[in-house]
Amino acid sequence: MAANAPALRVENLETHFFTKAGVVKAVDGVSFSVERAQILGLVGESGSGKSVTGFSILGLVDPPGRVVGGRILFDGQDIANAGEAQMQSLRGNRIATIFQDPMMTLNPVLRIETQMVETVLAHQEVNRETARKRARDALGQVGISSPDERLAAYPHQFSGGMRQRVAIAIALLNDPDLIIADEPTTALDVTIQAQILYEAQKLCRERGTAMIWITHDLAVVAGLADKVSVMYAGRIVEAGAIDQVLDHPVHPYTKGLIGSVPSRNKRGSPLYQIPGTTPALLNLAPGCAFRERCPRADPACLEEPGLSEPVPERAVRCFHPYAEAEA
């Protein structure tokens, strides 16, 4: 892989679900890119389409869902419509995933060793002994003590944090170029979350792995990510370098979201409240999806705003963005 080319570039990705009640545009024209050794935070609330974006990249969207448009360029090659065989050779190999609930991703009736060795053997032409050694090393790397004994254990013998480490170790096995992490620390305690974030950061820095960190938690992204894309109702509404977006949000939704996070200087005072709730994506009316909840909405917002780039590397989808000085 070339040094400076993005590890992954997603262009105008559209993933729609064709349900009996109508079309749900879960992902509707999403674009972003992530480079080697870079962590992209993909932030949004439930139903914003952030997880479906991840699934689309992995080719894991099940019917009635389908990727209907756009390109997913991984290492320069479009995998948006790649066949199952090609995706299988990529998944778990060059593109790895960490999901939210490690109890769901690990097979409860197989030893950790079986699951890890299988992952190696599926993609590499090595013998069982080498595969086992690699599994043991991976466990050691994510801070699991006495990896030899742990290999023989079953998932239920691990705590939640340990299971998530095992999941990360499995993701590491084939030295992937890209890791997609979907809410990997949401179910974990603060101290365990910090341990997982530490491992992720180490991985990214030492191995140059590109990472997409999907989460609803702005505070986690603030400490971890290099850049961030904020999603709302299937679209990216604001994107840019992490400091830029968090310190000077220009989209009313981003600004509202940041305002509603409790933080040190807002103690005791009422939090900013985004009125209403996220819209249902089924048969979403055209125009800006946020206009019902937006303090700046006017008749212009009945049209769909395009993604503009006020400064390079900074994108916003709004007719009435805040000026950076205001924010």
Binding site: I192, H216, A219, P262
Partner: protein, 333 residues
């Protein structure tokens, strides 16, 4: 702390014992190593909550914070220790008085999907208790119900609907309305905003703050989310494996934590203001309450652990005005 204590806990302990079944008893008679298992969920907890105060209780999963909340709300009985409500021991009350106290203490739960009966309409979920307990007459019932719903930001037209017709945030409002309907003084919020999206969480937190101002409520706010607790609480208790390790006013606690566990916890809270951080986590995980470590429960993970910490459990004692901490490091260093 301000004003008289509304709720006071003295030496509260809770043990859950998994007793042996017949086969287990036989096996144990025959010399097997099977024994009764005891979980020490709470171990001598003292706590006071003054009238009108919001007290935050923070800890990681399995530390016993929910058990404590359930005992305070009267759902569980303590194994040892006393609960004083308005200065009177709850266990010494007459049945009628105990019922009155039970009504004054209400609880709001974490999961707004699991804590509402899916087959009941909102009017019954919220209205059943005040009607049964005679807090409102049938004639005034409808207008009373409308008031309670309106206070929680719910439209009166929602009364005939079922829980599945609402979003998560609205369901949590229904849960709050149910608690408020019996005119409580004291509310135990057990992870009441943990399951909500950020923008909805802000709405519910604002509602809690407003209800406190309007009705003079007292809260015990249980959460693992330090940001939320810092926002809403006047005073904070930090819990680790069934024991309180530190308590102080919110400002003091967050400005200068004393206990090594609190320090680690506060350092690791992700914040909007911290960017590109270098994560330096504390090692290890919270030990099993089935077999808690001897001495100070935190010593296997503590960077400052010394011999004494392995043998002797530190007492919670005052280290500065209004601040209690349970750590041997505070002795003569």
């Amino acid at each position: 702390m301000s004003g008289p204590a509304l709720v006071e806990l003295q030496g509260l302990s809770k043990r859950f014992v998994k007793s042996l079944d017949l086969a287990g008893k036989l096996a144990s008679k025959l010399g097997s190593s099977i024994r009764e298992e005891t979980v020490y969920a709470l171990d001598g907890v003292d706590m006071t909550v003054a009238k009108g105060e919001v007290v935050g209780l923070v800890g990681e999963s399995g530390c016993g914070k929910s058990t404590l909340g359930r005992i305070v709300a009267g759902i569980l009985k303590p194994s040892d220790g006393r609960i004083l409500y308005d200065g009177r021991d709850v266990s010494s009350l007459t049945p009628a008085e105990a019922k009155a106290v039970a009504l004054k203490v209400q609880m709001i739960f974490q999961d707004p999907f699991a804590s509402l009966n899916p087959r009941m309409r909102v009017r019954d979920i919220v209205g059943e208790a005040p009607l049964v307990h005679g807090l409102v007459s049938r004639g005034e019932f409808e207008s009373y119900l409308d008031d309670v719903l309106a206070r929680c930001g719910l439209d009166a037209s929602y009364k005939r609907r079922f829980p599945h017709q609402f979003s998560g945030g609205q369901r949590q409002r229904i849960g709050i309305a149910r608690a408020l309907a019996v005119k409580p003084d004291f509310i135990v919020c057990d992870e009441a905003v943990a399951a909500l999206d950020v923008s909805i969480q802000a709405q519910i937190l604002n509602l809690f703050i407003k209800l406190r101002e309007d009705l003079g409520l007292t809260y015990l706010f249980i959460s693992h989310d330090l940001g939320v607790v810092e926002h809403i609480s006047d005073r904070v208790y930090i819990m680790y494996l069934g024991r309180i390790v530190e308590t102080a006013s919110t400002e003091d606690m967050f400005a200068a934590p004393n206990h090594p566990y609190t320090r680690a916890l506060l350092r690791e809270v992700p914040r909007l203001e911290t960017r590109h951080s270098d994560f330096l986590p504390i090692e290890g995980e919270i030990p099993s309450p089935l077999d808690p470590p001897r001495g100070c429960h935190f010593h296997p993970r503590c960077p400052h652990a010394m011999q004494r910490c392995r043998e002797e459990a530190p007492r919670l004692r005052e280290v500065a005005a209004g601040r209690l901490s349970a750590c041997h490091l505070n002795d003569g260093i």
